[in-house]
């Protein structure tokens, strides 16, 4: 899929996102343990890894929601700031829903980008399949509906960088497909997408590059094609096959 981005090499610098020596430590534990990453300036980068590997923490650090204990994240050559976040958007693994209607939730998010047009909010709802639910109390939505709302907010903001943390985990298969199309479209329009997923099929379908993270460290970063064809580490291979690495604590198979 890398050819999609050929037309936009002129904008490469604009999205340059990288980090150096990133550490996130709580007490004694180094949850993120020295990460250097250069993201492809375009296309879709997918982060995969076992539960608790540090994927969500890494996304938060990249988005600037957490202050790294060591190291730094740079976007367009500058450190992150609240202002930078105005050009980014994130869908959380567990969506945060305000005590308001569906439409008000969406308008609240768009308003932070200065988008106050009701029509644009309605269009975003339509895109994620929530038309007709505008005036529902958003906290009473079903799990999948909540996730769509969060997606609608993020996509409605037209961000330069879109972080997706298991954004389709509780969607039905049809919606997963539809959302994947939306993400591909956004990416094609120049949005840099950095996503986390446990759906290996989805990672295959969408990724331009794959990053494998384990116990807070990057074990592999490779173009999607080569990663899925022949992962270079034993751990990544085990992950793809749905096996548990022996060195890890994981559900015993009884």
């Amino acid at each position: 899929m890398l050819e999609r981005t050929g037309a936009m090499t002129g904008t490469v610098q604009r999205h340059a996102l990288y980090c150096r020596g990133l550490v996130y430590q709580v007490g004694e534990r180094r949850l993120i343990d020295g990460i250097d990453l250069d993201f492809l300036p375009f296309g879709i980068s997918t982060i995969v890894g076992y539960n608790g590997a540090g994927k969500s923490l890494l996304l938060r650090l990249l988005h600037g929601l957490l202050e790294p204990s060591e190291g730094a994240v740079l976007w367009n050559g500058k450190p992150l700031s609240a202002k930078a976040r105005h050009h980014q958007a994130m869908v959380f693994q567990k969506p945060v829903i305000l005590r308001r209607t569906v439409l008000d939730n969406l308008r609240f998010a768009l308003a932070s980008r200065g988008i106050r047009d009701r029509k644009q909010a309605l269009a975003a709802l339509e895109r994620v399949g929530l038309s007709g639910l505008e005036s529902r109390p958003a906290r009473l939505l079903s799990g999948g509906e909540k996730q769509r709302l969060a997606l609608g907010q993020a996509i409605g903001c037209n961000p330069d960088v879109l972080f997706l943390d298991e954004a389709t985990a509780s969607l039905d298969p049809a919606s997963v497909h539809a959302i994947e199309q939306i993400v591909l479209a956004a990416s094609a329009e120049g949005t840099k997408v950095i996503m986390v997923t446990h759906d290996v099929g989805q990672a295959r379908r969408l990724s331009d590059e794959v990053i494998f993270i384990d116990q807070g460290r990057i074990l592999e970063q490779a173009p999607a094609g080569s990663f899925f064809a022949s992962p270079s580490t034993r751990h990544a291979a085990a992950y793809l096959e749905g096996r548990l690495p022996e060195t890890h604590q994981h559900p015993s198979q009884n």
Partner: protein
């Protein structure tokens, strides 16, 4: 106590066959307390929300101070306001001493820390839930304050009611700055204090019961407003 019960009944009937003076006292009580509650909510909620959403050095100290200020003695607040509004004081030229305005000022000072401290706690719990979403949206402080105040509005009602309760039951501050002057600054609590010092205990208790009934009415009204107000979008 049996005696007392019948006395109390007498006092209550006497009160409830309201003369205009009594209606005046009730009216002033409500006016003063509701105004003070409104002003202290205006100030206290914003302050509480600010402390709930912000992070700065000294924030913990501010919170401790605010919590301690819930223990502001009414008499001291009354004296403080008195000394300022007194003819001899810096604001004496305003001529506000012994007016309902002075009572409202004193109660507002007394109650604002309560509103701020309690709403800080309520809103901080709420903000913990919203924090990352707000950070991701890059929201500024004013937007965050507005958002938590709006989303926490139903929980904040209890805070406002606590403030109202404190102000309507309070006597120490209003008696100093109001002077308990008949037809001018006499409210329910100062009337109760007066009857107590006259030894009319049953009348004092009866007035207290009436005061509670008023508080109950205000609370019931707020509750029904809250229920009948569309809770749409809030869950």
């Amino acid at each position: 106590m049996q005696d007392f019960a019948s006395e109390l009944k007498g006092a209550l009937t006497q009160i409830l066959s309201m003369d205009s003076g009594f209606v005046e006292i009730i009216g002033l009580s409500l006016r003063v307390s509701l105004s003070a509650t409104a002003f202290s909510c205006l100030l206290g909620l914003v302050l509480g929300a600010f402390l709930a959403v912000s992070k700065f050095r000294g924030r913990q100290g501010c919170i401790i101070l605010l919590n301690a200020l819930m223990g502001l003695p009414p008499v001291v607040v009354g004296l403080f306001v008195y000394l300022n509004l007194s003819r001899a004081g810096p604001l004496g030229w305003l001529g506000l001493l012994y007016t309902p305005t002075a009572m409202i000022i004193a109660q507002t000072i007394l109650i604002t820390p309560i509103v701020a401290a309690l709403s800080r706690q309520v809103l901080e719990d709420l903000h913990d839930e919203y924090r990352e979403h707000f950070a991701s949206l890059g929201l500024g402080m004013p937007a965050q304050i507005r958002a938590v105040l709006w989303d926490g509005r139903y929980s904040l009602i209890t805070v406002a009611l606590a403030a109202f309760g404190r102000s309507v039951a309070e006597v120490g501050a209003v008696i100093i700055v109001g002077g308990n002057i008949e037809h001018l600054t006499r409210v329910m609590t100062t009337a109760i204090a007066l009857e107590t010092s006259k030894g009319n205990l049953s009348l004092a208790v009866a007035l207290g019961i009436v005061l509670l009934a008023i508080a109950l009415a205000v609370n019931a009204m707020v509750a029904s407003l809250r229920l009948s107000a569309s809770r749409l979008g809030y869950a």
